[in-house]
């Protein structure tokens, strides 16, 4: 991943305006996240879910273009991960070259992969290692 030095702050101007607190941070609704699939969940009780074979994982790979904060941003907005978890996964990708960022049914992992490719991240699907 590419790292941009903090020198960018030289032209970063954040106006001191009421209402610009982080609490008002806008959420991204452009791409349906994992939460959008919850409409289907009421018909699946816990036992049904547990009985499903879910041997697929989504892997995000390191690349030389994407910025570290952008990868965190994608993990947070798309998967809904906390900042800590998103940063942990980003650093795994950065240092280990890849990280498993989701697991579940194959169709769901393919949806996630398409979303990652939409964001410009390199993502693949694989069977979970036994």
């Amino acid at each position: 991943m590419a790292v941009v030095a903090q020198l960018v702050e030289r032209w970063l101007v954040v106006p001191d305006v009421a209402g610009s607190s982080p609490v008002d941070r806008p959420k991204n609704h452009e791409i349906p996240g994992p939460g959008s699939s919850t409409t289907a969940s009421p018909v699946l009780d816990r036992e049904t879910v547990a009985s499903l074979d879910v041997p697929w994982v989504l892997i995000v790979w390191n690349d030389p273009i994407n910025l570290m904060n952008y990868v965190v941003h994608v993990f947070r907005t798309y998967f809904g991960y906390s900042r800590e978890e998103a940063e942990r996964l980003m650093l795994l990708v950065h240092h280990e070259g890849r990280a498993v960022v989701a697991s579940g049914p194959r169709e769901e992992m393919e949806r996630h992969a398409q979303a990652m490719h939409d964001y410009g991240l390199t993502a693949t699907i694989a069977k979970d290692a036994p």
Partner: protein
């Protein structure tokens, strides 16, 4: 260029040449995605990676189902940047800012591919294109910081 956040909006003040550059690059990106040439293979491999590394059949199938929509969304995002970048103040709501950061990744991939950046060890080097690459990275970095509420 100056960037700031006012409420839910991001405001970018572009110089004329910055806005012109961004518009040209975004249009070039849309053109390359729509009508790529043989030289663009490395870029296309980054923009539309294989979703399966050990199963070429499944990878081809995935491409068949996703490529058109991915192409369309990448082109649309770039065209939105090209259509709204202008000299002076550009105001982006949260949704537009997110489209911009997404488009900037693709545009940076295009410029990075031209600079021969293939791994983390590759440096952009020096020259106008390397400067442009650095500038695009700074713009994307700050936009993301603002979206993340930093």
């Amino acid at each position: 260029m100056r960037i700031g956040r006012v409420g839910d909006e991001v405001r970018i003040e572009f110089e004329a040449e910055e806005a012109g550059l961004l518009t040209v690059l975004a249009q070039q990106f849309a053109d390359v995605v729509r009508d790529p040439e043989l030289d663009d293979a490395p870029l296309l491999a980054m923009l539309f990676p294989d979703a399966y590394r050990d199963d070429s059949e499944a990878a081809a199938e995935f491409h068949r189902y996703t490529r058109d929509e991915l192409e369309q969304r990448k082109v649309e995002a770039a065209e939105r940047v090209a259509g709204s970048a202008r000299e002076g103040v550009v105001v982006l709501d949260a949704e537009a800012a997110d489209t911009w950061v997404r488009a900037l990744t693709g545009i940076r991939m295009m410029v990075g591919a031209r600079l021969g950046i293939r791994t983390d060890d590759d440096e952009p080097g020096e020259g106008p294109l390397a400067d442009i690459y650095g500038w695009l990275g700074e713009l994307q970095w700050v936009l993301v910081e603002l979206l993340e509420g930093a």
